[in-house]
Symmetry: C2
Subunit: 185 residues, 2 copies
DNA sequence: GATATAAAATACCAAGTGGTATAAAATATG
DNA sequence: CATATTTTATACCACTTGGTATTTTATATC
């Protein structure tokens, strides 16, 4: 029993390691729960992964959305994103969502479609942020909002992915700052 | 027998798919060769992978080095890199080297150290290129050469990785051009 | 042509995967 | 206290993985 604990263990294991390399047996052992219990609660490994991703979204991704929807200025918001990507201790082992997205072909159907959903939601959030900044006269560049949103999301993901591979946070901050400087010129 | 053919089949399979998802059995079947033959020739799966990577380096990576060492100007060379990443048909399924680097923890020791070697060699090539352009007065920005080299390599890798995930080549060109615009301003 | 030798293919091994049927234990109900 | 029911845990299934031992086949050599 204790689906809450299983979910927490699974989320952490998938997040800390590589989602595709963490086996169900391993999670059961870590959580002190039998395999049939997990199957009765989550239906399949895919179901558990999907739930773990949902759990992660509520715990971590929500913070990123909060930054984007904070209504702050362009420079201030980009700085907050740079801070989050390069120095937030939770990103020390990378982002579960980005890890899953990078290995999407290995995911089950439920988890994969959740990844696609979050991807779309993220894209919209970036676009809404840039649109608001443009309307506020804060971002006069001629780059279309959709293109800017894609670029911003990609660079953010790149920085956090490098975080997962042990890159030096200072270096990551430098690189991301350089990449996002195209918004401020 | 026919180690050449096995190597070719392995390189293509690893390259087209995901190196970690292509099993030795699969390669043997594709190449029409028995598993013991592969082991007699390459010693282990790790040995085969390492050889496949070497083969790939000679066939593809060499072209990138050629672009960097062509002695052309900054803009012209960056354009050539952008062309290669966004439109070269060989990059349609991504780059074997980048795929291996992204999943480095799944590789055997031989392959992994080869990946590290190529990574260092690539870094030096980027740095040598930028150093030459700076000395030629072609790149007056205050960014240190080492930082610029890292940034250039990362952006190039990002573009090709996106190529592998089916992203639109035009969009990729746009994003990479934007990212590399920091060199020209 | 008979024999020694090298090569290749089949069959096998232990380990691990996701998933499940069955037996054991604990809980609730009479 | 005894019985019925639900939850849990053990044991198992079929399959795939990398890696080998063994047998068969082909190739030289005499």
């Amino acid at each position: 029993m204790s689906a809450e604990k299983v979910l927490d263990v699974a989320m952490t294991a998938y997040w800390h390691g590589d989602p595709a390399d963490v086996s169900l047996n391993e999670i059961c052992q870590l959580a002190g729960v039998s395999k049939p219990s997990v199957y009765r609660e989550f239906g399949s490994e895919d179901g558990l992964m999907r739930s773990a991703l949902d759990s992660y979204a509520g715990a971590v991704l929500s913070d990123v959305f909060a930054i984007l929807q904070g209504g702050k200025g362009l420079q201030e918001t980009l700085d907050a994103l740079i801070d989050f990507a390069s120095t937030d201790p939770r990103m020390e082992t990378g982002c579960l969502f980005y890890k899953m997205r990078a290995g999407k072909h290995r995911l089950g159907p439920q988890t994969r479609s959740r990844v696609d959903e979050f991807d779309a939601v993220g894209q919209s959030a970036y676009a809404a942020f840039l649109q608001a900044r443009r309307e506020a006269g804060d971002w006069p560049s001629g780059l279309p909002v959709a293109e800017g949103a894609k670029y911003l999301g990609e660079q953010f993901a790149l920085a956090i992915t490098q975080r997962a591979s042990g890159e030096d946070p200072g270096r990551i901050r430098q690189m991301l700052t350089l990449a996002l400087s195209v918004f401020i010129r």
